[in-house]
C-alpha cells in the first residue's frame, strides 16, 4: 500500500498549526522519536512560512500543497508552491553566508534562520523551481537507528 498524504492549504500563517499537527502524527506513525518528530515538524513549518513570506509575499491567497510519504525507515515531504521561479543559486549563496555568520557568532541579527533550520534538520533537501510549475522543496528524514540525540549530534559535528 502507498502510504501517502496530500494536503492543500491556502498560504496563510493561520493554517500552520493544522499542518504541524498532521506532520507530527505522520512522524509518529513512521516511528520517529519525539525529538526528531518535533524537528521534522519545524522544518516543514519553516518551508511553508518561507513560501508565504518570500514567494507569496505575505499577501497572495495562493495554495501550498504538502505531500507526505511514509516509509519504514524515513519520511519524505514535498512542499509545492504556485509562485514565480526562484533563483536557487542565490538562495544557496544566501544560506551559506548566513551559516558562516552564525558559526563565527558575529553580531546577532534576526532573520535568515529558516533555511538553516531546514538544512540542519533534514537528511536530504532539494529545491526544484521553474516558471511553469513554481517551486518544489523535497525533504527527506531517516529514522535514526540510535533514536534520541540524532539532531543534536548532527549539528555539533
Amino acid at each position: 500500500m502507498r502510504e501517502c498524504l496530500d494536503i492543500r492549504i491556502p498560504g496563510h500563517p493561520k493554517m500552520m498549526k493544522l499542518v504541524r499537527s498532521t506532520v507530527g502524527q505522520a512522524c509518529e506513525m513512521v516511528g520517529f522519536c519525539a525529538r526528531d518528530s518535533h524537528a521534522v515538524v519545524l522544518a516543514v513549518d519553516e518551508g511553508c512560512t518561507n513560501i508565504i513570506r518570500h514567494c507569496y509575499r505575505d499577501c497572495s491567497e495562493e495554495d501550498i500543497v504538502i505531500r507526505i510519504r511514509l516509509f519504514k525507515n524515513r519520511i519524505e515531504i514535498l512542499l509545492r508552491d504556485f509562485g514565480e521561479e526562484i533563483d536557487l543559486e542565490k538562495l544557496r549563496d544566501c544560506v551559506e553566508a548566513r551559516r558562516r555568520e552564525l558559526e563565527k557568532q558575529g553580531p546577532v541579527r534576526p532573520g535568515g534562520l529558516g533555511v538553516i533550520l531546514i538544512d540542519s534538520i533534514m537528511d536530504r533537501v532539494h529545491y526544484k523551481s521553474s516558471q511553469k510549475f513554481g517551486t518544489v522543496l523535497k525533504m527527506v528524514k531517516y529514522v535514526s537507528p540510535r533514536g534520541e540525540g540524532e539532531v543534536a549530534s548532527k549539528h555539533s559535528e
Binding site: 518535533h38 515538524v41 519545524l42 519553516e46 532573520g111 533550520l117
Partner: protein, 110 residues
C-alpha cells in the same frame, strides 16, 4: 498564543503560552517593543507554557535582545522546554541568550 505581562520593580516578565509561530509572533514582538520602549530592565520572557516555537519566534527574541541592548538592559529567557531549546541550538543561538532554567533564577536579585 497568549501573552501576559507583570511589572517587577524596574523590570518586567512576559509570560507566553501556546505556540509562537509566524501567525502569533507579531503579538509577542509588539509586547516586547512596548516594554523595551519603557526601558524595562531586566526584560524576562518566560517560555514555560510554550510548546512550540519556530524561527519567527527566535527572530522576535533576537529583536528583543537588540532593543534592550540599546539601553544596556538585560534580556533574559526562562524555562525553555526541550523543543524550544532545540530551535535555539539548531539556529546556533543558544549561546547568545541569557537562558535560565526557571523564572525564579531569571529574577534572582530583582
Amino acid at each position: 498564543m497568549q501573552v501576559s505581562t507583570q511589572n517587577r520593580n524596574k523590570g518586567a516578565v512576559i509570560s507566553v503560552s501556546g505556540d509562537i509561530d509566524l501567525y502569533t509572533s507579531p503579538d509577542l514582538r509588539k509586547e516586547i517593543a512596548k516594554l523595551a520602549k519603557k526601558k524595562k530592565n531586566p526584560l524576562v520572557v518566560d517560555l514555560e507554557q510554550v510548546d512550540y516555537m519556530d524561527s519567527s519566534g527566535v527572530a522576535t527574541l533576537v529583536e528583543g535582545l537588540q532593543l534592550t541592548g540599546r539601553y544596556e538592559g538585560s534580556f533574559r529567557v526562562a524555562s525553555l522546554n526541550d523543543g524550544v531549546r532545540e530551535v535555539f541550538e539548531l539556529a546556533r543561538l543558544d549561546k547568545v541568550f541569557d537562558v535560565y532554567d526557571n523564572l525564579d533564577q531569571a529574577l534572582a536579585g530583582f
